[in-house]
């Protein structure tokens, strides 16, 4: 592959990125992230796993343009990301970010209305997104009338209608039970296949990362750096049934090997890491 072709294949990249939270009255400065390099290939599904507090969400927010890196550069589609979320990036957060005062339909249409998209086009895209996420019959319901998983689907729909080319998922299923998470994982895979978007998933669940991703970055305890990049080798047409395959166990085993010591460090038990 030529350099130009390789560059075109890189959808987003972080190089030498560091994030240090400045000192406040109550806290000393916190070195949360890096220095760290990452290249996301166009259309790939990349997951980031790591111990609590290792800077996973900081990494996502820096990539999204929600936070400025203290050092290093962030690129998206060949342009530097600085201070603003670039057009083409969609983010789904861990917290319920649905708007309780709007119906499901209006929630999904929010971004399109903000962008001044024509009414007919809004209707088409929202109806399509809600159908895709299985929410058509709840279009007139309010988020409070839905389960946690369905509310998260509302937020995904709101992101999906804007047709982002890079979707950033910040532990979107963190608050859901294990079975629902597996099923939501299937939906995310369907979404990824259909949109062709590049997806970066932040998760603390090793099985979720192993099932969904093409590549998985295992991060160290704070300040977060990549310890290992695991290539899963799954076909694009995968679903949650792969959890019963031997390779799935090998991937999660390797991730746990990478992360066990780091997780103990983050809990304040570095001495146990060798055991």
């Amino acid at each position: 592959m030529t350099t130009a072709a390789a560059d075109a294949d890189i959808h987003a990249a972080l190089s030498g990125v560091t994030r240090v939270y400045p000192e406040t009255i109550a806290t000393p400065p916190v070195h949360a992230l890096g220095p760290l390099d990452l290249e996301l290939k166009r259309g790939e599904f990349f997951a980031v796993v790591g111990p609590s507090g290792c800077g996973k969400s900081t990494l996502l927010e820096v990539l999204a343009g929600l936070q400025q890196p203290t050092a290093g550069t962030v690129m998206f589609e060949g342009r530097t990301v600085s201070g603003k979320v670039p057009d083409g990036i969609g983010v789904v957060f861990q917290e319920d970010a649905s708007f309780p005062w709007m119906t499901v339909w209006d929630n999904a249409a929010f971004g399109l209305r903000r962008n001044g998209v024509a009414t007919a086009e809004i209707r088409r895209r929202v109806d399509d997104a809600l159908a895709f996420m299985g929410l058509t019959e709840f279009a007139r319901a309010y988020p409070a009338q839905l389960s946690g998983g369905m509310r998260q689907r509302v937020c995904i729909s709101r992101t999906l209608v804007l047709q982002p080319r890079l979707i950033l998922l910040d532990e979107p299923f963190g608050a859901l039970d294990a079975q629902t998470r597996l099923l939501m994982g299937d939906e995310v895979l369907r979404l990824w296949r259909r949109t062709g978007a590049t997806v970066l998933l932040i998760t603390h669940a090793l099985d979720e990362a192993a099932m969904l991703s093409d590549r998985i970055g295992a991060m160290s305890a704070r300040p977060g750096r990549f310890l290992d990049i695991v290539v899963t080798g799954w076909s694009r047409e995968r679903d949650s049934k792969i959890v019963s395959e031997p390779q799935f166990g090998e991937i999660t085993g390797r991730l746990w090997e990478d992360l066990r010591g780091e997780s103990l460090k983050s809990l304040g038990h570095p001495g146990m890491a060798a055991g």
Binding site: V85, D96, A97, P100, W101
Partner: protein
């Protein structure tokens, strides 16, 4: 009406019935309290005669004005104080103890400054109500989920759009609690001020009727105040419940 609503209505009817019975049986001296049925008759006669209409319009007009000023200014001040954490830190103790101070001790001062007019009464209504609205605004803005600010940035919304399109609706249930309290406190502030010293108004008329042993007029106007305050509060409660139901935070 819901089952709870019927029970509520039954409790009210029983209380009124008991008072009526006690008055009629002479257990309560009718020179002290007249039966509720006679209060109602006296109120109807008073309204038909039009004798107190001017005072009624004046008092409810002042209550409305005081409530409006309290809600609008209370929200604006609350939003500004919320945006200035150091100012808020310094003011928090005052808000916490505000209703522990008998605000009416300042009423004579206001009469000295503004004269015996409607202005001191409006100001007393505002003084009684505004802090409830400020506290509700601070509380509401505190409870806006932080993730909404991130959502706003993802949608490339400016500060004003974020405030109007996301923060305000998110804080609305708490703001509405402030509105309910402000309206109730405005009623109390205005009527009590009129009762203490005023050239006109329902409070003044009730006070005069009390001094003149005119029980029928006194109880008729008291009943009117209770009915109006209850209707206004019930209306606000119904609106609040509808919103709460929609958001899934309705109280049973």
């Amino acid at each position: 009406m819901s089952r709870v609503g019927w029970i509520r209505l039954a409790v009210l009817a029983i209380a009124i019935g008991l008072l009526e019975l006690c008055c009629r049986l002479g257990l309560i001296d009718q020179r002290v309290v007249i039966p509720p049925s006679e209060m109602a008759v006296a109120l109807v006669r008073l309204l038909i005669s039009g004798e107190a209409n001017e005072q009624i319009v004046r008092t409810f007009g002042i209550v409305l004005l005081a409530a409006l000023i309290s809600v609008v200014a209370g929200f604006a001040l609350g939003a500004v104080i919320h945006a200035l954490p150091r100012v808020r830190q310094s003011l928090d103790p005052f808000f916490a103890t505000y209703y522990a101070v008998p605000i009416f001790i300042f009423y004579p001062v206001m009469i000295v400054i503004f004269g015996l007019s409607a202005i001191p009464i409006v100001l007393m209504g505002v003084a009684t109500a505004i802090v409830a609205m400020i506290i509700a605004t601070l509380n509401g803005l505190d409870r806006v989920p932080q993730v909404l600010a991130k959502v706003a940035r993802v949608h490339r919304m400016g500060a004003i759009a974020t405030a109007l399109r996301l923060k305000l609706p998110a804080a609305a249930p708490h703001l509405f609690t402030g509105v309910k309290l402000a309206v109730s406190y405005a009623f109390i502030g205005v009527i009590a001020s009129e009762f203490i010293l005023a050239p006109a108004g329902l409070g003044r008329v009730i006070s005069d009727a009390y001094t003149d042993f005119n029980n029928r007029q006194m109880y008729a106007l008291m009943l009117l105040l209770i009915i109006v305050a209850t209707i206004v509060n019930m209306f606000l409660h119904v609106v609040d419940q509808r919103w709460a139901e929609r958001r899934g935070i309705a109280k049973p």
